[in-house]
Subunit: 371 residues, 2 copies
Amino acid sequence: MTQSVIPVNLPQNAYEIALASDSLDRLGAWIKSLHLGHKVMLVSNPTVFGYYGKRAIASLETAGFEVHLHLFNDGEAYKTLDSVAQLYDKALAAGLERNSTFIALGGGVVGDMTGFAAATWLRGIGFIQIPTTLLAMVDASIGGKTGVNHPQGKNLIGAFYQPRLVLIDPTVLQTLPEREFRAGIAEVIKYGVIWDAGLFRQLEDARHLANPSHLSNPLLHEILMRSCQAKAEVVGQDEKEAGLRAILNYGHTIGHAVESLTGYTELLHGEGVAIGMVAASRLAVALNLWSAEDDARQTQVIEKAGLPTRIPEGVEIEAIIAKLQTDKKVKDGRVRFVLPTRIGNATVSDRVDNELIRDTLTQLQPLTVNR
Amino acid sequence: MTQSVIPVNLPQNAYEIALASDSLDRLGAWIKSLHLGHKVMLVSNPTVFGYYGKRAIASLETAGFEVHLHLFNDGEAYKTLDSVAQLYDKALAAGLERNSTFIALGGGVVGDMTGFAAATWLRGIGFIQIPTTLLAMVDASIGGKTGVNHPQGKNLIGAFYQPRLVLIDPTVLQTLPEREFRAGIAEVIKYGVIWDAGLFRQLEDARHLANPSHLSNPLLHEILMRSCQAKAEVVGQDEKEAGLRAILNYGHTIGHAVESLTGYTELLHGEGVAIGMVAASRLAVALNLWSAEDDARQTQVIEKAGLPTRIPEGVEIEAIIAKLQTDKKVKDGRVRFVLPTRIGNATVSDRVDNELIRDTLTQLQPLTVNR
């Protein structure tokens, strides 16, 4: 059995990411080693709980924990302050104390909300992440970004609050819908491009990337480990996003705009990021920051993962440009882009003007336009 | 003009408490020196804003800030998640950014809610405290405890989030109701008993303590400075209440129970603390932790401040004992009390049993019982 333990070295809140097949069944023992209180609240949604809830509870009870349970409704639409308030009520009824622990078993929505509740109940109680989607494993569960949506914007309400442990069991990906797996691969590709050239080469060398059942266990383990390591290293150097951490937004600028313009229903987040990475890569070529060869290599990997590389039909280029102006990262009307410089390295640039964006996006229009 | 700057030495979030008469008129210049963004949101309630709002805004605008305004409804009943959500809406409409600042101008309710909003909007934006009650000046505004009430308990929802600056202008106490001033003096006496013997002697030597207009400006300044210093020192050693900070709960155990049993309407918080300090002091005498002489000295100062020293009529001793069992600090059914050992020093004890509490509280029954 391969097991990796990846440290997240934060000055005040260091913790570990534990990665191993079937680690879900050793959850109780892992938590016990952290010397937290004996009351835990397992938080999930009906779908994920249906698959893995019993195993998690069995492991916790065997280790002697008093287990309480809360299920959020499934889906981004329920990522609200009201949902968190329901978890507060449960925490009160269960008599959770400061040394009690919330355990998030699910994807990014469950993790973000549970983390926010943990950050704010009794001014902060224990928190553990068990991500069950690829996206949550390599991105959302690491680094302490927690929160909920405001009716007018995603993740506007939240806190930086680090988990005490991230437990990743790759075998749970077997029940993840393929399209969601591919969306997670987009973030893996991102780490390859901006941080870890070795990871990128592994993705290039892989025969298949679009389906977890076509990946060998060692390769999947390696991909997860290196992605978690990339995230942990960046966050370890810049916990509160004062500088370096911004490079994690590679592909997210155009990506967010396209997601938002399609009402967050047509594209998964990772699909938006894939399109955004293609766009950012072209911008970087135009600015002579990186080569057309590297751009082509990236596109090839994205296509192998079955991810989109063009703007969805019906999305106007001018609408994207207008949307970019509302981005959090705009400074003095100029959008700041994360651009690759070589495989494994990226920089933040404010040299991108609307003219260049327009030219670049024109190249990425849907092929059907030319039919 | 006397001016004191008291450092709060926290490893990651150090800041200063600035204490000076009429410092409210120099608010803008103070904030400017912190190099925060140019957008600020002044948060207050109608009463306090009526007294001091114009001066605060004038100072901010003179310094070049873009000033937005939000008023919470006045009173503890509005210290809710819903109120905070209204402030989120205002922050969105004002286009606050990560380097923008919430400025709390008011007492503990305004400060706690504004701090919680600052902790959770965009995962944390700038925050400045301008406390306008004595209680907020010496206690609530320092140390980063922020939050709101849950329908079933006070301050259950919250976060540790430090301000960037606490600005104290003692002249604003002139508009504070006398009874609220006295309630604040209870916390000042607390610091004298548990931390600063010199402060306690000054309170003993003072002719008057019950009314701000009877205190000389230098004495008031000294009292404020030493109290803030005590709080800053304790918090500096234990930001998240892992150990030492618990001594700040001196008087709060019985105090909270009595406040709660009178429905939070009959007693001000500081009045509950005064009763709680008398009770804890008697427990300490009974346990031979400190002397009857020191107990008498404390009672004398509390009485000089016009604060209550006996249990309110109609509150049953057994009801208090039952209420204590729901205290956050109960461990294995045993209440943990902060008890004084000598003037300027306190310890946490779990040696107090219900029998002893019963005996002690019997001595503190209202005198009318014996009429």
